[in-house]
Amino acid sequence: MIPEIGQFSLILALSLAIAQTVIPLVGAHRGDAAMMGVARTAATGQFLFVAVAFACLTYAFLADDFSVLYVANHSQLSLPTLYKVSAVWGAHEGSLLLWIFVLAAWTLAVALFSSGLPAAFSARVIGVLGFLSVGFLLFAILTSNPFDRLVPAAVDGGDLNPLLQDPGLAIHPPLLYIGYVGFSVAFAFAIAAMISGELDRKWAKWTRPWTTVAWLFLTLGIALGSWWAYYELGWGGWWFWDAVENASFMPWLIGTALIHSLAVTEKRGLFTSWTLLLAITAFSLSLLGTFLVRSGIIVSVHAFATDPTRGFFILTFLAIVVIGALILYAWRAPALDSDVGFGLLSRETFLLLNNVLLVIATALVLIGTLAPLVVEMASGGKISIGPPWFNVAFLVPMIPLVILLGMGMHTAWRTQNAASWWRVLRIPAIVAVVLGVLIPLFVYGRISLLLVVGCASAAWIVISSLIQPVRSLWRKKGTAGITRSALGMSVAHLGMGLFVLGVTVVSAFGVESDQALSPGESIEVAGFEFHMVGLDNVQGPNFSAIEAEIEVRSDGEFIATIRPQKRQYLVQRSPMTEAGIRAGLDKDLFVALGDQLGNNTWSVRVQYKPLIRFIWLGALVMALGGLIAISDRRYRSKAREKAGDAVDAAEATA
């Protein structure tokens, strides 16, 4: 009965979504206040019914209702409760429901917090979001119903993929989707603005906080996924350029460009048509990612559903959304030419370069992701061009990007006096280059050109992000001298610096070694002694495992005990590597069990990963920067709209 309630709720949500699309859009066109008023009510109702459907599916998992096909395929009696909940989005149908739920939640948030916007504008925004909901609800109901029954019901389920039975991965998809789907709001704002033709700086100001929130969740989601891959896949890498990783990374890159170009549009009224195009592109890439992941068109470790019907549905929807948006764009954008100029040495120039480089980076990732498809069409096989290509290609736009980043932060709008610019930057630049030589040479004992470039850029970003906050602390003994927006920017850039440092050091100085090890024996890797004390059998709720106890010493001094496991999940019979990690800010020591070679001998993979935590710490700090930026009082309430505008005006002229 419960699953039928869920199914019925989805259908009701669909009818409300249709109402949410048609009535407000028509109302806004006619200037009919009553029709525009429907937007909020319909959005709230749609959210409630989607929430009911989501709750019903969750209930089916918690109650072990194996008469539901999706539950029978992806759960099991002895599955821990946390994973019964996360199994809801553990495969195609449920994760699509999560997508719909997140979209409805964003729409509700827009409905609740948009009271300061003109009625016609917010009605259009909600209407556009409603249209997106219609597409995805239809997709779920017609091709991917999570509530399909299994007759006769199964006695026990097929269990959740053991790879997904992990706390990190339980919350990775929701975070990622909040980010991914969140770009729909920027998209809807762009479309609404283009329909009405009111493309002024206000539009950019309204869009900014929504975009930043989506971006910060996407940042967290991607970082969490990378962290999960690091410890769960047992390979010790943190990024694989897998098609699905790329699918979330491309919207992130464009979203980052969008945040920067929105700043220009808001402050200076420039780049408006370009910003619109980025807003459309960010969400289109989210849709493209959904298509790539769910159509089976590209092979990936995440392979979701390989059903061409689903592929065609999403592709059709993608085509309608993107073509519609771009026709609107081609019609409206020509009117947006601005006659405001800016100097060659100005913040505008740097933000323009930022955008160009990020778009190039996105294009490279897109080409690399789709290249196997080109080969496949020419020949019929699925191949991968792999990390060697990406690692090299991606560096090309990234190195200038990080160097320009530090300069751009200290450049004024409109035009910057070159002499005073150089006075601010010369010492940080010299310190950065010196650190770029010293860090690899003295801390890690080896040096190369790429290392100097990496470490110097990291130091450069870190120092130049700190100048402004430190100065205002120094002068005013508080944060009063710096706006939250500016502080957020500094913090996010600081995160970028930490990330670059982590990537540089771990790629150059990480050590990986595969060796055979038996109890009583020791091996040495990167100056650390790994001693296997013994092996033990361990019993988990739905797996049994062999656990090794490994003591790590450095110069005879005890550092840690690491306990890697080799798990055998009882239902899916798949062996899983649960790596043992001694995590530290300066380095990770990583031990994973490979294969049993002899009676008591195992192949072990031992890794020394210096500063690898900085990769995720950097992402965390970037997200924190986003959080600080949206707490800026300009965004907080409509009552202060005026005060905020005054601040804007002051800043724009500053």
Binding site: S273, L315, Y329, P372, A378, G380, G381, I383, G386
Partner: protein, 177 residues
């Protein structure tokens, strides 16, 4: 045409491309410039022992498969069980070219998943891959006893492709032929 139409044009092209990708069903014959020609000469260290090298001469005398693989390649993992099956049934000698990979990772991969290869050549910088016209991994070449490439397959091998494309080309051999 105004310049703001260009994004639309680009997206339309991309969509056409994606539709073709989705509709694309049967693999077509691959016009490889290498088919019917002698296998490109190569000489590479083996994966397991840098002191020992293998090359074109190693292949001569029998039908042989040359399989290009790498540990970063997801589809190599997918085709691996089938290669092991071919090796276990002694269907055909299989040689690997470990392409643009790292030696310890590749050795670990073979230890973990099993080694179907008589030997794997270690093509660290992908030079031999260029000579052989490798686009990506996995790719599999069928070489006859005279050392001529008689078929090339892109993407993972599976029993269906084996029966349809490889087995008929191997004179007097192959399962079911």
């Amino acid at each position: 045409m105004n310049r703001f139409v260009w994004p639309l044009v680009a997206v339309l092209a991309l969509l056409v491309f994606l539709v073709m990708g989705l509709r694309h069903g049967d693999p077509r014959a691959l016009p490889s410039p290498f088919i019917g020609k002698p296998a490109p000469e190569f000489e590479l260290p083996t994966l397991n022992n840098p002191e020992v090298s293998i090359g074109t001469k190693t292949l001569a005398g029998d039908y042989a498969l040359v399989n290009v693989w790498a540990t970063w390649c997801v589809m190599c993992r997918a085709e691996h069980p089938f290669l092991l099956e071919l090796a276990a049934n002694k269907t055909i000698p299989i040689y690997g070219i470990n392409w643009r990979d790292s030696r310890p990772e590749a050795i670990r991969w073979l230890n973990d998943l099993g080694d179907p290869y008589l030997a794997s050549a270690y093509d660290e910088d992908g030079r031999v891959g260029i000579d052989w016209g490798v686009y990506g991994a996995p790719e599999t070449f069928l070489v006859d006893p005279e050392g001529t490439v008689i078929y090339k397959h892109l993407g993972p091998l599976d029993p269906v492709i084996w029966q349809r494309e490889f087995a008929p080309r191997i004179a007097g051999g192959g399962p079911g032929q």
